[in-house]
């Protein structure tokens, strides 16, 4: 694991040397707060990918859940109801994904790709080009507030990391998901209830996307149908940059956290150094590939040494 931090460390050193504003407490907290949004939507997805599945509906799920939560808050004025509605909406989508993959036996890519379009359609119809905006400060604190000087989304991120870490490492269920990801048939033969475990992993992914949607909403103080569109690829990229294999059976949440931080650092660094807008996509691509190369190189060396 410690080798995986080398990419982040190199990026951090390079930015420290090139910008005075980078290595300050306030900027590092800023980076963590931005990373927390990617992490929250990628955390449940990590579990799905560990189980050799895929959830392409994450971004669309974030969008629909955020809009749903926004509508619930606007129409009832109850913040807890809005929070619950957002998470429940995400969770329901996750359950449907799980059922499609396990009961209808659709390939995860197809099932969640279809879901993605259905969610876009529902959301476009539901929002009809409108924006829902203007929420009470108590709700917005969830996205933009601080507690003891640390942004609240960062606490949510740490809580998800801790819960997920315990879950994958110290529960039988967690081990079963890894076993299913490594070899589903062997897992089935050894008595693991593969179907229900997979449904649960998709449910967690959906619920985390729903939670991310609510935090997004609180952060932006506004919901529009396209709110989660830009999130899908970064979420998957964070999981994969973090070393979780698309083939399942290996990886974990700490890696995803590092992936989310790398993606965030790229934008942060480009802004601090005011890199020309036209070059930014290219720079993003190069940095992501470099970070992944450092990771894969150091990991291979550590594996051959062990």
């Amino acid at each position: 694991m410690k080798y995986r931090l080398i990419g982040v460390a190199l990026l951090g050193i390079a930015l420290t040397l090139s910008s005075d504003a980078f290595l300050t407490a306030s900027n590092l907290l800023n980076v963590l707060r931005q990373a927390s949004l990617i992490f929250l939507s990628a955390s449940g997805l990590t579990l799905v990918i560990v189980g050799a599945g895929l959830d392409l509906s994450v971004g669309a799920n974030v969008g629909l859940s955020a809009c749903f939560a926004a509508a619930a808050i606007k129409s009832t004025g109850m913040l807890s109801l809005g929070f619950g509605a957002g998470v429940a909406c995400g969770m329901a989508i996750g359950i449907l994904n799980g059922v499609m993959v396990t009961q209808l036996r659709l390939p995860p890519f197809i099932a969640t790709y279809g879901m993605l379009w259905m969610l876009y359609g529902l959301n476009y119809w539901y929002m009809a080009g409108d924006t829902i905006y203007g929420f009470p400060p108590e709700f917005r604190a969830l996205g933009s507030g601080n507690w003891l000087g640390i942004p609240i989304p960062v606490y949510l991120m740490l809580a998800a990391l801790l819960a997920g870490g315990i879950f994958t490492r110290y529960t039988i269920f967690g081990h079963e998901v890894y076993a299913i990801g490594a070899n589903a048939e062997a897992a089935r033969l050894s008595g693991i209830p593969v179907g229900s475990r997979l449904i649960l992993s998709y449910t967690v992914s959906g619920a985390m996307a729903g939670l991310a949607g609510v935090v997004y909403l609180a952060r932006l103080n506004s919901a529009e149908a396209g709110i989660g569109d830009a999130l899908l690829l970064p979420a998957i990229a964070a999981v994969l940059i973090g070393g979780t294999s698309l083939f399942g059976g290996s990886g974990g949440l700490l890696g995803t956290l590092i992936g989310a931080i790398i993606l965030t650092l790229v934008l942060n660094g480009m802004n601090l150094l005011t890199i020309n807008t036209n070059w930014q996509p290219l720079v993003t691509g190069v940095i992501v590939l470099l970070a992944a190369t450092v990771d894969s190189f150091t990991r291979r060396r550590s594996e051959s040494r062990a």
Partner: protein, 329 residues
Amino acid sequence: MRKTGSFVLVMGLCIGLAACGQPTETNVTPQAQKETIALFTKNQTNPYFKTIRVAAQAAARAMNVEVVDYIPTKADSIPEQMSQIEDAITKRPSAAVFIPVDSKAVVPGVEKFNAAKIPVVNLVDRAEGGEFVSFMGCDDYTVSLETARYLLKKMNGKGNVIIIEGMGGSSNNTKRVAGFRKALEEFPNVKVLASQTGEFQRVKALQVTENLLQAHRQIDGILAANDAMALGAIEALDAANRKAMVIGINGTKEAVDAVKAGKMLATGDCDGFLQGCIGVMGAVRHLRNMPVPKEVIFPITVFDSTNYQGADIPYESRDCPPWEKIVKE
């Protein structure tokens, strides 16, 4: 389990289909052959285009025609708009009101309309080829120039600003940023600290502003290439307890509300409602052999705390203004 899964799926599809059916089923009268106008907008997400669609329906009521919407499901999708043009041609509308998702790439689609002898009015963004009855739009460059001038005057011609650009390579972004830059040339004591892309997205603009606030102690003004990004920047300022004067482009209702609340300085706009009205009216007038000028450029408004009234009336309850009041021959 299998049953419940498929039931919910079917339900979902029903809702989806019902939703898609809604807009086209209105206003169909069996007796008279109404003229039909195919209206092409860019996406379902930007409220600006919703305003144009609502205005088009208001014009349809006023002129007694039917307006059918064609909207890509994937926002600003070139291939989707191209195939929607083909779909529309098979249904033979009397005329089309066309907003290109890309000013160059969809020109072959316009040529298909021309080949099918369906007259086309080009609305909002100018297409770079094909035959049109008229181009009606407003000039992005002038809108952003005027709005930026307004901000720089409010700053008394001095201080630090940042620019939040839209999607690189898009023609409206290029024009808007050029308008900002031109205004900045007129105020040499204003320093541009950074010009970074927010890709026309609220969340990206929020993060970019957060990052720039880290790098720069004093930011007095923010020029955003659309309202969604301006509002994202305002959220970042609020969270950091910093103050700056923010301008955006589009005049969306949300931005006008922010202007009203004193959070945003101004938003520059070519009224989308007016464009939707006049676009459809122009197409119908052409069909009815009434004169339509080759080019209609809509007036520009910079909404600030003194003149937002009128911009905050819900569009659904508005009627189109008479043609003669807007289009001077």
